[in-house]
Amino acid sequence: MTVVIQTNGLGKRYGRQWALRDCTLGIPEGKVVGLVGPNGAGKTTLLNLAVGLLAPTCGAITVLGGPPSDGPAQLEKVGFVAQDTPAYAGLSVGKHLLMGSYLNANWNQELAKDRIDQLGLDPRQKAGSLSGGQRAQLALTMAIAKQPALLLLDEPVASLDPLARREFLQGLMEIVAEHAVSVVLSSHLIADLERVCDYLVLLVASHVQLAGEVTALLATHQRLSGPRRDPRSLPSSHEIIEESHTGKQSTFLVRTDQPILDPAWTVKPVTLDELVLAYMGRARNPSPGRRSGLGVAP
């Protein structure tokens, strides 16, 4: 399987602060990847490294088989929508599309125009007077119309109201359905994750906590509840991600390849949201009593 983004021990430091550290990922092509994590976890840093706007402090990153932003051919193949969807306030919507056609060899003007019409944007309106949602749609249109192989979106829906957010995701999914494009979508919101993403990367505190296909992740995590138990009594094949105890009851979120055979357990499937929350909690408060390891899927 081809890998669109490959990182190896990638790290980025600002002064004494590590924005990203020990990041080793192999993101397969053709997926919609959710890059999730709290604010400041390193998501924007990773994406900016991938488009060559930042240089690594250590480690390496290859995008579509080459160094990021290494020449026009590479730049054409990657579409990027930055946080806050920057646009030239003095240029109209139509002029932005013109800009795209001037600067990208593979630009599809028809596609761009159709999308703008569909979205109800006025080509003569200056980008400075667009709403946040409209600007996000314009930025997405520009990234799409250059017909890239890889789309990187940095928190594109963070500042949108729910309707605008839904419309943005609808548009994005339509594009994914129509074109063979890999998407990496970063967000600090974890709602809507499961419906949109089929690959997940979780970043907390500058480190990768979890990475893998969503179906695989969901299949290998279970929520077990039953009578109060010492966590150490669980079989070693169960890796405990999260645990909570009341006087009489224990609940564990475990990761395991083995089927749960102990009849004392009530087994419930885990949703992606719960999974992400559990890993985020673990990253914030690693406790010595747990058997912990890096939650990275093979």
């Binding site: 706007l53 932003s69 026009p72």
Partner: protein, 336 residues
């Protein structure tokens, strides 16, 4: 990329072209009148024996416009540096649009090259056209005042403003790239350009060519002044304005003898008895001075005007190229 750079630059170019057109119209309307005035009054003033009045009247014509044009040529390079050069890249950083511009299908280097090239050419063109028009309009006025090397005048005529404009643009652009904020960049453009221009005017221009020296006899008309500079010391001075070398740049004039010595205090106190306001008998004093001493004038001849213009243009264009080189080097560093 060129089309895109033009797309962004169109408005500014239109404003500049419009302003230039207005100036052109004003000059076209008033220029022929000046020529006519010159032909009828100054050109024939010798015949009418009213040269001083005719000259003064002529040089006072359109006085406010003259001042305005001087001011315009003085400030245009500065404005270019502050309002075209400084915001070019710094605004991209401030608004975050560099994240849009540098993820399109052109490399950063090409992006910079086109924007820099277009801006520099436009700056040079604006300044050049303006200077051309004003130099044409002022030609008789300049001829009459006969001081082309005047430190102000030299920088607002002919080709030197082209270099100023290109340099100011490059400086503003570099500052914007380096500081990533528009106001600091504008400030650097302002201070840096003014400092550079003043530095070259004061320290480089006088030394571009070794000045010539010429001996002139002291006559009764020579405005020598004798004065006591400190207790027991008397010196002879002369103001360079007394020298009549049309079109030349007079650096200094000294009163010296054949051996190059200045008059001693004892000679001067003997030859010129001093009262409260200078020598009691100026004619006698000057006559005695003239016997032994002469004027030694250090100057640049008028013929060196154009070589010095080209040299100064070259200096500022080289400065622009160096700054451009810096920009190309700096922009490759993807550290933001």
């Amino acid at each position: 990329m060129i089309r895109f750079a033009w797309l962004q630059f169109r408005m500014q170019a239109a404003v500049a072209a419009g302003a230039l057109a207005i100036v052109a119209v004003v000059l076209a309307l008033t220029g022929p009148n000046l020529v006519h005035l010159y032909d009828t009054t100054v050109a024939s003033c010798a015949v009418h024996h009213d040269c001083p009045t005719a000259t003064t009247d002529f040089t006072d014509t359109d006085g406010p416009l003259q001042v305005f044009l001087d001011f315009l040529l003085l400030t245009v390079p500065l404005l270019i540096g502050m309002f075209w050069g400084a915001p070019l890249i710094s605004r991209e950083f401030e608004t975050g649009t560099f994240r849009l511009a540098w993820t399109q299908g052109v490399t950063r280097t090409r992006w910079l090259a086109v924007k820099l090239g277009l801006g520099a050419v436009a700056s040079a063109a604006i300044a050049g056209l303006l200077s051309l028009m004003v130099s044409w309009w002022s030609s008789q006025l300049d001829y009459v005042s006969a001081n082309p090397f005047d430190s102000l005048r030299f920088g607002i005529r002919d080709v030197v403003p082209i270099g100023y404009a290109a340099f100011a643009f490059a400086l503003g652009l570099s500052a914007g790239l380096l500081f990533r904020r528009m106001l600091p960049a504008m400030l650097v453009a302002l201070v840096g350009f003014v400092a550079a221009r003043e530095a070259v005017t004061a320290w480089v221009r006088p030394h571009l060519f070794t000045p010539l020296q010429q001996s002139l006899p002291i006559t009764t008309a020579t405005p020598v002044s004798i004065d006591q500079t400190s207790p027991g010391v008397i010196k002879a001075f002369e103001n360079t304005r007394g020298i009549s070398l049309p079109g030349a740049w007079v650096y200094s004039v000294q009163i010296v003898d054949q051996a190059g010595h200045t008059p001693t205090t004892s000679f001067l106190s003997g030859a010129c008895h001093l009262g409260n306001y200078g020598p009691l008998n100026p004619r006698d004093c000057t006559a005695r001075l003239a016997a032994t001493f002469h004027q030694l004038v250090t100057y640049q001849p008028g013929g060196r005007y154009w070589p010095m213009q080209w040299y100064e243009l070259a200096i500022f264009l080289s400065g622009s190229i160096v700054l451009a080189g810096f920009c190309f080097w700096w922009i490759r560093r993807p550290v933001i």
